[in-house]
C-alpha cells in the first residue's frame, strides 16, 4: 500500500514536471511562441535535451558535407543559435547549416531569432510587410517569412538561409546529419536497458532453472509468458520458436521506447515511437520478415488466388499486392499516430495553463494549473496503458502477418487478418 502511494506521488510529480518542461522556452530572447509551435517543438527530434529557460543538456552534433567534410561539436557550442561553428548552428534546438561560401568558418557570433531576421528581411529582400500607417509589423512578417522561405540567420547584417540535413522530405540539401539526437540517444539508452535487463533475466534462468523467479526475473516473467502464450504460440502454431525472438525484440524495444517517451525529463522526453522514421524502420523489418519467410502457398494466394473464379483472379492479385504493402504501412501509421496523438493531447492540456494565464492573469493561470495537472496526470496513466497496448498490438499483428505467410493451406479459405 505504501509503495502504491509512493508511486502515485512520484507519478503526480512526473505530470508536474511535464507542466514545467513545457514552459514557453527561450523566454529571454524570443518573442511569444504559439502553442502549436511549442507542441511541434516538443514532439520533434532535437539536438539537445531542453530543461527550462536557457538550460539544456548538450548532445554531440556530427555532420558531413561534400565541401566542408566532417564537423564535430557539442550542441552547447552553438549557445542556442547565438554562435555558428563552421557554418553550422542550432535553430530551435535543431542542427542546421548555412550553405554559403561567404559565411566564415570557425566559431562566430551570429544573430538569430525573428526580430533580427525581420530586420534583415527589410534590408535585403523585397517581401517586407508594411502596414498602412507605415509601421513595420514584424510578427506577421516573420511567421509568413519563415513559412515561405525557411529559417535564416544574420551575420554582419547579411541574412543567410539555413538548410536542413538530407532526408526523405528534403533530398536536395548539401549536408548529411549523423548527430546523436534526442531520438538516437533514447534508442541507444533503450538498447542498453534491454541488454542489462535481459542478460540478468537469462542468467537467472540458466542458474536457477525452473525454480520460482526472483528479483527482476519476476518482473519480466509475466510479460514473457503472456507474449508467448497469448501472442506468439496461438498465432504462429508449431513454428513459433523460430519467430519468438524477433517478436519479443519488437515488443520490448517498442515498449521501452514508448515508456521512455513518457518520462518528461532528461533520460526520456524524446518522442521516438512518435517519429515516423522509427516506425517506418520497424514496419520495414516486419515486411522483410513476412515476405522472406513466406512459403509457396502464401505467394500462390498473393499472386493467383486459388478457389475463386478465373475472372476474379487478376482483381484479387491487385488487391493482394496492395495489401502486401498496406499491412506494414498501417503498422507504421498506427504506432506513430497513437504515440504522437497521446503526446499532443498531454501538451495541449498543459497549454491550457498558458491560455488561462493569457486570458485572466496569474489567478486564472493558477486555476488552469489546478485543472490541467489532474487531467495531465490521468492522461499520463492512459498513455502508460497505450504504451503497453501499442507494443502489444504491433507485435501481435506482426505475428499474425508472419503466420499468414507461413501457414500451410488445405484449400479451406479463411479470412486473412488485415
Amino acid at each position: 500500500m505504501k509503495t502504491t502511494y509512493f508511486l502515485l506521488i512520484f507519478l503526480l510529480f512526473g505530470s508536474l514536471q511535464t507542466a514545467f518542461a513545457t514552459d514557453p522556452h527561450e523566454e529571454g530572447h524570443d518573442t511569444k511562441e504559439s502553442p502549436v509551435d511549442a507542441m511541434l517543438h516538443h514532439i520533434a527530434d532535437g539536438n539537445e535535451f531542453h530543461i527550462f529557460g536557457e538550460y539544456s543538456i548538450p548532445l554531440p552534433c556530427i555532420a558531413w558535407s561534400s565541401d566542408g567534410g566532417f564537423m564535430f561539436a557539442l550542441s552547447s557550442t552553438f549557445e542556442h543559435g547565438h554562435k555558428a561553428y563552421n557554418g553550422y548552428t542550432l535553430h530551435h534546438g535543431k542542427l542546421m547549416r548555412v550553405n554559403n561560401a561567404n559565411f566564415p568558418q570557425g566559431l562566430v557570433e551570429i544573430s538569430a531569432g525573428h526580430a533580427v531576421k525581420a530586420h534583415g528581411t527589410a534590408e535585403g529582400h523585397d517581401h517586407q510587410t508594411v502596414s498602412p500607417d507605415g509601421v513595420h509589423t514584424p510578427v506577421v512578417d516573420e511567421l509568413k517569412d519563415e513559412k515561405q522561405h525557411g529559417a535564416a540567420v544574420s551575420y554582419n547584417g547579411t541574412v543567410y538561409n539555413l538548410e536542413d540535413g538530407k532526408a526523405l522530405q528534403n533530398p536536395g540539401t548539401s549536408w548529411i546529419d549523423f548527430s546523436i539526437t534526442k531520438n538516437v540517444f533514447t534508442m541507444i539508452l533503450a538498447l542498453i536497458i534491454l541488454v542489462i535487463l535481459f542478460s540478468k533475466v537469462s542468467k537467472a534462468y540458466t542458474t536457477r532453472g525452473v525454480a520460482a523467479p526472483k528479483g527482476v526475473q519476476s518482473l519480466m516473467e509475466p510479460l514473457l509468458i503472456f507474449m508467448r502464450d497469448e501472442v506468439v504460440r496461438p498465432s504462429l502454431g508449431k513454428d513459433w520458436q523460430k519467430f519468438f525472438p524477433y517478436i519479443m525484440c519488437l515488443f520490448f524495444f517498442i515498449l521501452i521506447v514508448n515508456l521512455l517517451g513518457l518520462v518528461p525529463f532528461f533520460p526520456g522526453s524524446a518522442n521516438v515511437s512518435g517519429n515516423v522514421g522509427f516506425t517506418l524502420v520497424m514496419a520495414v523489418s516486419v515486411f522483410l520478415v513476412v515476405n522472406l519467410s513466406g512459403n509457396k502457398d502464401y505467394w500462390l494466394h498473393v499472386l493467383w488466388m486459388p478457389g475463386v473464379p478465373i475472372g476474379v483472379k487478376p482483381l484479387m492479385t491487385v488487391i493482394e499486392v496492395v495489401g502486401l504493402f498496406m499491412k506494414p504501412i498501417t503498422l507504421m501509421i498506427r504506432l506513430f499516430a497513437n504515440i504522437t496523438a497521446g503526446h499532443i493531447i498531454i501538451l495541449s492540456l498543459v497549454s491550457l495553463i498558458f491560455f488561462f494565464n493569457e486570458a485572466g492573469g496569474v489567478p486564472a493561470g493558477v486555476a488552469g494549473m489546478g485543472l490541467a495537472v489532474p487531467f495531465v496526470f490521468a492522461l499520463n496513466m492512459l498513455e502508460l496503458f497505450v504504451a503497453f497496448l501499442q507494443a502489444f498490438v504491433f507485435s501481435l499483428l506482426a505475428s499474425l502477418y508472419i503466420s499468414s505467410a507461413i501457414e500451410e493451406h488445405h484449400h479451406d479459405h479463411e479470412v486473412e487478418p488485415m
Binding site: V36, T330, I333, R334, A337, N338, I344, V393, L396
Partner: protein, 67 residues
C-alpha cells in the same frame, strides 16, 4: 475545417469502439468463462479501429503543420 475533420474521425472511432464494447459485454454475459479471450480480442479490435481513426487525425495534423 480541421475541427470538423477531427470531430468526424472521433465520431467514427467512438461508434466503432462502442459497438465492440457492447458486443464484448454481451459475449461475456453469455459466456463468462470466455471473458479473458473476449477481452483480449476486444482490445485488439479497438486498437485497429483507433488506428483507422488516427489515419484521419494524421491527415488533419499534416494540414495543420504543413501550411
Amino acid at each position: 475545417m480541421l475541427g470538423i475533420g477531427a470531430g468526424l474521425a472521433v465520431i467514427g472511432a467512438g461508434l466503432g469502439i462502442g459497438m465492440i464494447g457492447s458486443k464484448a459485454m454481451e459475449g461475456i454475459a453469455r459466456q463468462p468463462s470466455a471473458a479473458g479471450d473476449i477481452r483480449s480480442s476486444m482490445i485488439v479490435a479497438a486498437a485497429l479501429i483507433e488506428g483507422a481513426a488516427l489515419f484521419a487525425i494524421v491527415v488533419d495534423l499534416l494540414k495543420l503543420f504543413i501550411k
